[in-house]
Point group: C2
Chain length 272, copies 2
């Protein structure tokens, strides 16, 4: 039997214009595509009738990982999908945990590879201008698998060390108080006027962006399709943009510089 | 005169299979493409002879930003490029700072948009398995524009709060001691055996990955084309993979589940 392979495929934030050729190719060559049903919907236009699709509900990440591994081990070409980047709060975690637990020999294990993608923090930042132009951290506010104590410790550390913070999984119906607490922890170290954005369904048809401040953040408007981005002490708002300076100096006498230029040919023929 | 536009384009980590369709389209429709010469080389195969290319040296980010803004304000379609994600330690920062400094009215300003991309941390993580499956932060070790005191404070905070850490700009010829100091700061809170990876030129022909531990990290092997990824207290190495668990439990009796499946047609016809 031919050796199977499993590709972990990042779908990007939603809009297919952000799906990489590597991801598209991995989807095209898969016999079986497995993932959360909503994510399969995102890429339905790219799939062919003869491909086997395995939509799986939320909360079945462990079983889904095993299923993907076992199908690949049986000789199939399997694509396991997540939106955003599959390595960030997505299926790469449980998949490699299950692989570790199975303890397969090299001969038993299928070929495994991971295709990275654009995550929500980057897609949100792109809409906002330059909010993550300096050091930032990603923190998930889901305490389903992580204690609130550890989450709070990370929020406090990020606040004290002046990181820009991207909150993933900021709020859901059952998880409604964590974002308010996180905001209060940030407010210990950061001004109430700190620019803050709620970016919902970024790059999807129902995208919605709210620019606000840390103190004015309306937690009740945030849901599980949102990412909350909080600036550091230097982040400022200018018109519709958010900007976290890196320290570059303004050079008012910089030249307009339409002078020096090269064609593709010239560029190819000389080292940079 | 027609209104010009400026698109900030993320090129991804290097391999063109990770360049999104949005980025490709922005490059294809630009009259002028401006960026660091090495990055123009990365995409030379995508450019046409009639496009005007403006290769610019490192260290000219402020002038380059102004140049891009002024060319767009003159009515041109301009693409300003960075490798990785242009919002992360790249041109979006200086560009929006210059835009702010220019203080243009809405009528004067060109249309500006940003195309996100896959950053080095994600491309590196994909090669490694699942090292950033839990909270992580990105820290630049360049003290050209940020004080070492602030950088050290961030490293200490990340260490104490058990973040996975991705070091950007870890080392260059002039900036040779910072990575060693950062490692020592991490070692105050983290085991010498903490898994650690040096990922150089990820997705490019000369890609090279070294899996090591925090204590064994050979700083002298790291250069400006490398990203250094340090696991948290839970990160473990299994075979050739790095895994940072999120807390998912192993379910040894999970079914192999080749059962329930749907075709594209079925999937399209029912809500998830």
């Amino acid at each position: 039997m031919a050796k199977g392979r499993l590709t972990l495929v990042s779908l990007g934030p939603g809009g297919l214009e952000h799906l990489t050729p590597a991801a598209r190719s991995a989807l095209a060559t898969a016999e079986v595509v497995i993932g959360y049903g909503v994510y399969l919907d995102l890429i339905a236009s790219l799939l062919r009738p003869e491909q086997r699709l395995l939509p799986r509900p939320l909360g079945t990440e462990v079983q889904r990982s095993r299923e993907a591994l076992l199908l690949a081990a049986e000789g199939h070409a399997v694509a396991l999908i997540s939106s955003g980047d599959i390595g960030m709060y997505a299926m790469a975690g449980p998949l490699f945990e299950q692989l570790d637990a199975l303890g397969w020999s090299p001969a038993e294990a299928p070929e495994i590879s991971v295709v990275p993608g654009v995550s929500a923090v980057q897609a949100a930042a792109a809409r906002l201008g330059a909010p993550i132009a300096h050091d930032f951290c990603c923190i998930s506010l889901s305490d389903r698998l992580t204690s609130w104590e550890l989450i709070a410790r990370r929020v406090e550390a990020a606040a004290a060390a002046d990181f820009v913070v991207a909150f993933y999984n900021p709020r859901s119906v059952e998880r409604h108080w964590q974002l308010g607490r996180a905001r209060d922890l940030l407010l210990v170290h950061r001004s109430p006027e700190t620019p803050d954005a709620v970016v919902r369904a970024v790059t999807r048809p129902d995208e919605h962006i709210t620019l606000t401040t840390l103190a004015a953040l309306d937690v009740s408007k945030v849901d599980m399709f949102s990412l909350v981005l909080v600036g550091n002490s230097q982040t400022r708002r200018s018109d519709r943009w958010l900007l976290t300076p890196r320290g570059y100096r303004v050079a008012p006498d910089a030249e307009s510089g339409s002078q020096a230029h090269a064609t593709v040919g010239e560029l190819r023929s000389k080292p940079q």
